[in-house]
Symmetry: C2
Subunit: 177 residues, 2 copies
């Protein structure tokens, strides 16, 4: 992986996440990453490709972070949601990058939306398999609810209702599991 490419992607990640995708221009990324414009377009054929790379990287990062968490079955789910609530309460949290991106790209056929869909499918599948592992008969329905809960946690956390998210999550997870 090239050094300049890394800088571009990291700068884009920071700016896209904290300020939004449409509002951050390529010139700004170039300036803050300290690269030439030609270098930018050498690594990323278009801004859209950079956006896709941003979300794909984020997808892999989150998959890695959740895979590293301990526990099995339902206990693992509890751990995941506790972590999620903790993150959404932290400084600099501005919601889920995938949901924010989806809100900015209205066309469901856009590549960005495909990545968002992939992420959600993965999360839903993870919940389902953990529930099935615990021998829960209603795995499908409950997994769907947990995905929905995940959305709610990140959205609420991102809009500033961070402290109350903890108790809300405990209520929900406790009631359903």
């Amino acid at each position: 992986m090239s050094e300049a490419r890394n800088r571009i992607l990291e700068t884009a990640t920071r700016l896209f996440y904290t300020e939004g995708i449409h509002t951050v221009g390529v010139d700004r990324i170039i300036a803050e990453a300290g690269v030439a414009k030609a270098t930018f377009y050498h690594h990323f054929p278009s801004k859209d490709e950079l956006v896709s790379a941003y979300l794909t990287t984020e997808y892999e990062r989150q998959r890695g972070a959740l895979s590293a968490l301990p526990g099995e079955g339902v206990e693992r789910i509890r751990t995941i949601f506790a972590k999620l609530a903790e993150l959404s309460d932290g400084p600099g949290f501005r919601g889920c990058p995938f949901l924010n991106a989806a809100a900015e790209f209205a066309d469901p056929a856009h590549p960005v939306r495909t990545i968002v869909g992939d992420y959600r499918d993965w999360f839903r599948g993870l919940m389902r398999s953990l529930l099935a592992e615990a021998g829960r008969a209603d795995a499908d329905r409950t997994a769907e609810f947990l995905l929905l809960l995940r959305d709610g946690v990140t959205v609420s956390g991102g809009l500033g209702d961070s402290t109350t998210v903890h108790t809300a999550v405990e209520t929900a997870v406790g009631a359903v599991l």
Copy 2:
């Protein structure tokens, strides 16, 4: 209320909701509303003012729609969420206009974010008062969860997981209430 102003606001509502706020330009709204540019700026001093008007109107509309629903206490909450799930399954649904707007306006101090905050405060308060009316001791915590659930429903529904939202909501509402 002026006829031209109405046309502008309705066109903006349609375009902002279905395509996003930043992606829709003033010129496009003017063309589709069939008004002159001077007329537009006569009624709305800036695009931001139009955006605020769009969200304020939407706020009032939703408040009116929910107030019209029947029932009392917990039963009313069930009705509200059933309606919400139904809407989020309908054609042309593209998520919650407030959450979508908040994702596009990253600055928490922006007027748009204030309106979004107002809307959420109102919904939370409505839930709390309905729970208190039913004599629930945990009204605060449960209201917080119901706001979170509302977020999840609109987000999931807007991203195409519409049919499964119904059962997920039933599961959640049933478990908590």
